[in-house]
Amino acid sequence: MSYRALWVKWILRDLRSRWIQVILISFVIAIGTGTYSGLSSTTSWRLKSNDASFSKTNMHDFKVYSQTGNLFQEGKIREVLAPLVKNGLITGIEERLSLPTQIKAEGINGAIIAPGLLVGIDKSKGAPQIDKLHLTEGDWGNYDTGSKIDYAVLDHTFAETNGIPNSSIIELPGNKKIKVSGTGLTPQHFIPINDSGLGFGGVFAIVYMPLEKVQHIRNQEGKTSESLITISDPENPENLKTELKLLLQQSFPNYGIGIEGKKEDRVYKLLYEGADADQKFYHVIGIAILLGAVFAAFNLTVRVVQSQRREIGIGMAMGASLLSLAARPIILGINISILGTIFGIFVGKLINGAMRNVLIQELPLPIWLTPFEPKYFLWVGIGGFLAPIIATLVPVIFGLNIQPVEAIRTGHLAPIRKGLSPLLSRLPLPGNTFWQMPFRNLLRTPRRTFLTMLGIAGVIGVMTSVLGMVDSFTLTLDKATSESSIKESPRIEVVFNSFQPVDAAIFTYLKDKQGVSKIQPVIQFAGTAKSKDANNSDIKINLLTTIIDFQNTMWTPTLVSGKYPEEHNEILISSAAAKSLEVTSGDQVLVNHPIITVQGSPGFLETQFTISGIHPHPFRAYSYMVPSQTKKSGMYGLAGGVWIQTDQSADLDNIQTDLYSIAGVSSVRESGINDRAMKEELKGQMDILKIVQFIVLFLALLIAFNTASINMDDRAREHATIMAFGLPVSKIMLMSIIESATLGLLASIAGLGIGFLLLDYFINTVFASALPEIGMYLAVSTATYATTIILGVFAVGIAPIFAIRKLTKADIPSSLRILE
């Protein structure tokens, strides 16, 4: 046999004897690289899919609307903008009538009454040309049969979430029955959003009908609420926007003309900013898992190669070339690298598949482009490929840099240990030698213990942060629920089509209604707020302000600081709003709020308010003022809605249905509807977290098992000696479990620290930008602490059990004679 053939044979033998370790370490790397690339791909998918979806539906470049809620005469805006159409600056105009509504439908779980938007679409050209409706099922309905039935296309998400079948009948206020002819999506409502700025997937309904049908149903013949415009130069819209504003303000002086560019659209922003936030979130999660995995793989590979230290020494003593000596361990490393890369692609594809399902479920865009993204795999793949090779090189270089005699030496002649080892080895420990041994093993190799612990801690840290996010979501939801609810019975919030005098007959009617115990007229309006402090004045947030009597006995918000508003220029804001605006009780804010002028026309006014106090509801937009404020805003003596508290024995559904049929009522909803929406919003995040949770748990187990398996190999002689002294396998296993569990405990404690830092980043940085309207509370529950510690200790602790075969099948005499 030639010299080269001998080495090849030897290398093959190495691989054969270590194939399980090679495969398992490859898997550790694969999970790291695969998870990173799998998670990171979603950002690219989202951006590509957003672009394709907005392009396919020809999203508007501008939306013209009235900030005061005035309706336009159909064709009037088109007429005003005709010169711009003529000179080619505007390429298309379509008018719509979008009005708040309420729908009643039969879903898979029974009757649903939900708030929503009734959208009348211009179908004069057969179908809308701007903000096209992407039909996911059915069609616009057949109006040619002479049937008196009206048809509507229902928002895809709402229909899907609630299981509302095509061809079912839905009901709009005023007992208006409509047949669902299809389901679909338009770009403004890819994510259905209500006034609070939250995506309301399953609890906010968008109903699309032909424009004239909506005008007829809502008695707004010839009226529109907005115009959608496309322009010839969408890349440079600013000049045209200024021109449009001037032109329209001249023609509609009391309308408070609003012109919203495509990039200002809330859904558009949410989708792109969401992708950006995803990138931060997945990047950190992916990096943390990747680092944990690569670090663990590095550590494990080093340990595997270190076991060849003496053989390298013998080879050196016999004059073998350095290259041939290095070849065996390096080829082992290359094998791990190659397998890790191949497995990584599979793991990446697997995670891609899981993420694809979650994304398509949570964000139903018309087009989803979800290709495998090699660019995200490339860099981490290179890192994952190099790690085991470097890991093999380190001990090899050290091995080759010492005198052969040192490498060969064993037992009492082996190199003296340095560093912390001598110090830690002398730590006095209680108990007999059996129970000391696991701890002694950890202490005598502090660097190895620390590195192994760090690898597992990184993974546990990710798990802690993931569990902490679930805790934080839960706490946020709990805060919202406890803040919104009334202990005795639910509160029903009724919204009118228009302001009503507080002495109107409807209030007397509602007060006397059977099952109603109390009523509270309210005014609710949308506005914005910014800090008066010049340094923060560029931060502007949405407000949803409710004017209530704080002396009412039905419900008042709770206070986390300050006091309730008493004067007309005081406002109670949420802690999330205070955080965003960087203000606190007693500070000033500038609020842009609606007014009704003495002439009776609506408008907006910027007023300075003092923050009287702060409430804990997580919705940033929620704010409260006192009724005396309405004297300043021209709304004194009016109410836009009413809160109703029912008797405990009352049938809530019946009352809601009754209220729903009253003329002038625009919507009827339970007070917790926004909390349910928030739950829906967070559900998507939780689904993704579950995937991450599964990955990290699996990775922690894999690292722990690998560590235990290598420990078993390293300790073969020690275990054989113990067995030679008559200790049973069960006791040795127990000692190994104690050692592993101690490592797991240390890793869990370190992991909790890492996890808390990650969680803080996710909640206060990533989610703060991804879900700005929700003030997330950061929480790590006792259950999470306990779960992390128990899982860390348990998962890592039980790992040696998987290697028990090595003990039971150990050849004691042979192991005793192992010299290394």
Binding site: G411, R417, R440, L443, M723, P728
Partner: protein, 235 residues
């Protein structure tokens, strides 16, 4: 009945293509207080015999009886018990636990056998002359010191059979003599001491010398030139 009885034992290693007969129909018995040296060239079956007596291995044929217990009838648990309470090992390469100090290694012997005597690990260590090295870790000890710790660990069990596999194999002459004195003293304390060696000099201090060749006993009896004192040894 003798403390150790081997009756017609054979040990065959079958590696697939090759069958190796390590021991072939060996029969012998060893009494309490006997100092027995097993001699023979490499591969003659010395260590295999030691492993069988120590319940580390099982014979292919024949029976091994230790303290009246037939090892062939034992299960994993009962074999562990024999190793725990009847035999003690001293290995050629010491096999000390690197994470435990000298005294703790000896303490391990006490702990494992459940020896409740008032004789402490420190006492045993003093017996082998290492009382001033008790807090040292194995890597801080010389080869001879390590072997003495290994013997102390075996002695700490107070088990009636002491098996030593080439106990002086890795040691210099003077250190080797110290170790042999220790072993002889154990036989004088009524322990059966079985030493495996290829060093013919050592055989001179034995009560009985068993010579093995190709797995068979070729001679069994006192040293040809009579039993000598350890101090008279030269190699």
């Amino acid at each position: 009945m003798a403390l150790i009885e081997l009756s017609n034992i054979s040990k065959i290693y079958d590696t697939g293509s090759v069958t190796v007969k390590a021991l072939d129909k060996v029969t012998l018995s060893i009494e309490e207080g006997e100092f027995v040296v097993v001699l023979g060239p490499s591969g003659c079956g010395k260590t295999t015999m030691l492993n069988l007596i120590g319940a580390l291995d099982t014979p292919s044929r024949g029976t091994v009886t230790i303290g009246g217990f037939d090892l062939s009838t034992g299960n994993r648990s009962s074999l562990s018990r024999i190793r725990r309470n009847t035999v003690s090992f001293v290995f050629q390469s010491f096999n000390l636990f690197p994470g435990l100090t000298a005294e703790e290694n000896v303490q391990f012997g006490l702990d494992v056998s459940g020896n409740k005597s008032e004789y402490t690990a420190a006492n045993v260590l003093a017996d082998v002359g290492l009382e001033n090295r008790s807090t040292h870790f194995p890597h801080e000890l010389s080869g001879g010191e390590q072997q003495r710790v290994a013997i102390a660990r075996a002695l700490a069990t107070s088990n009636p059979i002491l098996l030593a596999d080439e106990p002086t194999g890795e040691l210099d002459f003077e250190t080797g003599k110290q170790i042999l004195k220790l072993l002889v003293s154990q036989a004088n304390m009524n322990r059966a001491v079985l030493v495996v060696s290829h060093n013919r000099e050592i055989a001179q201090i034995a009560d009985r010398v068993i010579q093995l060749s190709s797995g068979q006993i070729i001679s069994d009896g006192p040293p040809i030139d009579g039993k000598k004192d350890v101090d008279s040894l030269r190699w």
